[in-house]
Point group: C2
Chain length 345, copies 2
DNA sequence: GTGAAAGCGCTAACAC
DNA sequence: GTGTTAGCGCTTTCAC
């Protein structure tokens, strides 16, 4: 055998499929994209050659040539929060029916990181942006506007959106829960939440909550904040702290279900009469709550629905069937569970 | 005022920045990428113009021209599993120190979906692929090999990797837990897990577990599987079912911490003596367990470390400092908690 | 139904 | 330090 020089390994291109099948590049491209009329015979030849080579088209080149990119940027603060995966499922469900696909970026609740993520995302010229929250710094807002892509801000409608917005009113959610608690006759109310100056949604909920209390001449009797660590454990610890410090509390409102569940577990272990002596409520409508001995009251923020509606807007903007910004306010739903209703309905 | 025709809104390009700053496109490109020497004066001019316009470079064009893409594809079965976000944090931690950035794809444990996700990902010509599991169909393996990118399969080392691999041996993890349980004198062992023929990791763990029992002349005394729904609730229900069906069980091994936690809650409510009369163990080393009244025994699969090591391999391959495939086996660590140790150490 | 030519917005390579 | 030229791998457009 003669030593034939091995050609340098070069990335595979349309041209390779073209040569392998004896069909022009243009027609190969048509087959691979299901565009235009191609005779069944050529079609087969092309597909066989492509499969044989294991060819995967280069979307970078395709996107540049067509200036069409099938990506939708989804920008969220965290993945470990339970909340955001649900929104993502909603988004995916809808986009799966289209040619669009989500790309996720995580900001860890840090504005400077959000700025960077938006910049990186936009540099890929996505077909749309879905971003959590309605509070963004000026640089972020300017980039989003200049990009000339459909933008949907989600999970909070209290403020001025860049473009479209889908979600609950966090302030209203806080108010609603306060009203429900007061209606059950509770009045010595403690609040437990995250120490997260940057979680605007939790903050607004708290504001709505205190505002509604104030309207009835009440205020939060005691409060406790945490950061980091196992939320379940923190809920447990904070509850103990609060109940020992202020022993006449008759209700505990938690800013999320996980700390609420921790608190509930602790209360049950202490043999506290719930909801007779002490009522409890969380926030989110987490699936986790199903598995506790007693069902914690909570409020479903319609996460999946939010994701679905946001994705629908992007899809409609992308195919041209929608041109105007939309505003969709989702209705939060209180779930009374076993820990909020003092009087039987 | 005269009616001046409004020019059609055209996507912004380097050229716009070039014109606005009076500097050549090439030099603008240099400034924006921090490449080569540019005088401070021109630099300033360019940056000012770019900021003013809100210009975001087009990475599609950049990637095509340079054949460099700073994306790393991360392909995982699910986001709602608690497990994968941890791996992702590990990956992000390491990639944040580089110019690389992760892009996540989710397969929902479905092979046909995995095939599609891989295809889509590869079509963007990423700098590397990190993919959960070592079982992939032939089409997937062929694509991954043909792509000529570094590939790291994670979370399971039992099998033939395409390229590099990082993770625990799931079989060994199952065996280790079996040994630990037997050493404590438990012998009537029940198993509770997901009915997921496609979760190869859970399956292998179970295989390793039964294999170790068999070596001691034992087998699983009873078992129960679930799918879908709230894992905490399912754990609770399955435990009840199992304990009622086979009332002499002295140990329950759960395939994940969430169902384990559900089971533990139920047992505690029933007043069962743990671990005197019944031992329990889960799997994953979930943070959640910190918040329970009793700490469930579990096994930490080193998720964050797995993510970190995988990302390090990709980064090293990308910058050329590594050329060979690597195999990194992570050591799983048993956490005895309060539910596995019958005899005080 | 198929092919040839031009060009998407950037960067590599080289000139000055 | 800065500019010019060619081309990355596709798709658009138009010709046949």
């Amino acid at each position: 055998m003669t030593d034939r020089p091995i050609p340098p390994r070069r990335p595979m291109t349309l041209r390779d499929v073209s040569e392998a099948s004896g069909v022009s590049e243009m027609t190969v491209s048509r087959v691979l994209r299901n565009r235009g009329d191609v005779s069944p015979a050529t079609r087969e030849k092309v597909l066989a050659a492509a499969a044989e080579l294991g060819y995967v088209p280069n979307k970078i080149a395709g996107a540049l040539a067509s200036s069409r990119v099938n990506l939708v940027s989804v920008i969220i603060p965290s993945l470990s929060n339970m909340v955001f995966p649900d929104v993502l499922s909603g988004i995916t469900e809808v986009l799966d029916e289209t040619h669009l696909q989500p790309v996720v970026g995580v900001t860890n609740y840090r504005p400077e990181r959000e700025e960077k993520v938006i910049y990186e995302m936009l540099s890929w010229r996505p077909s749309g942006v879905i971003i959590a929250g309605i509070e963004h710094n000026e640089a972020c807002r300017r980039m989003l506007r200049a990009a000339d892509v459909p933008v949907v801000e989600i999970m909070d409608v209290d403020g001025e959106p860049v473009d479209s917005v889908v979600g609950i009113s966090q302030r209203r959610a806080g108010r609603m829960m306060a009203e429900a608690i007061l209606k059950q006759g509770f009045e010595r109310i403690g609040f437990l939440g995250t120490r997260m100056p940057l979680d605007h949604r939790a903050r607004k909920r708290f504001e709505g909550f205190t505002e509604a209390l104030a309207r009835h001449g009440l205020e939060v009797a005691d409060q406790e904040f945490y950061e980091g660590g196992s939320a379940l454990k923190k809920g447990r610890e904070m509850t103990q702290t609060l109940m020992q410090r202020t022993d006449d509390l008759d209700f505990l409102y938690y800013s999320n279900d996980m700390i609420g569940a921790g608190g509930l577990l602790w209360c049950l272990e202490q043999g506290i009469d719930i909801p007779g002596k002490l009522g409890l409520a969380g926030f989110n409508g987490t699936e986790l709550l199903e598995g506790l001995a007693m069902k914690l009251a909570t409020m479903d923020a319609g996460r999946r629905e939010t994701g679905r509606e946001a994705a629908k807007i992007i899809a409609a903007r992308a195919d041209g069937s929608l041109t105007e910004p939309r505003r969709i306010e989702i209705e939060p739903k209180i779930s009374y569970g076993d820990t909020l209703r003092r009087y039987k309905p």
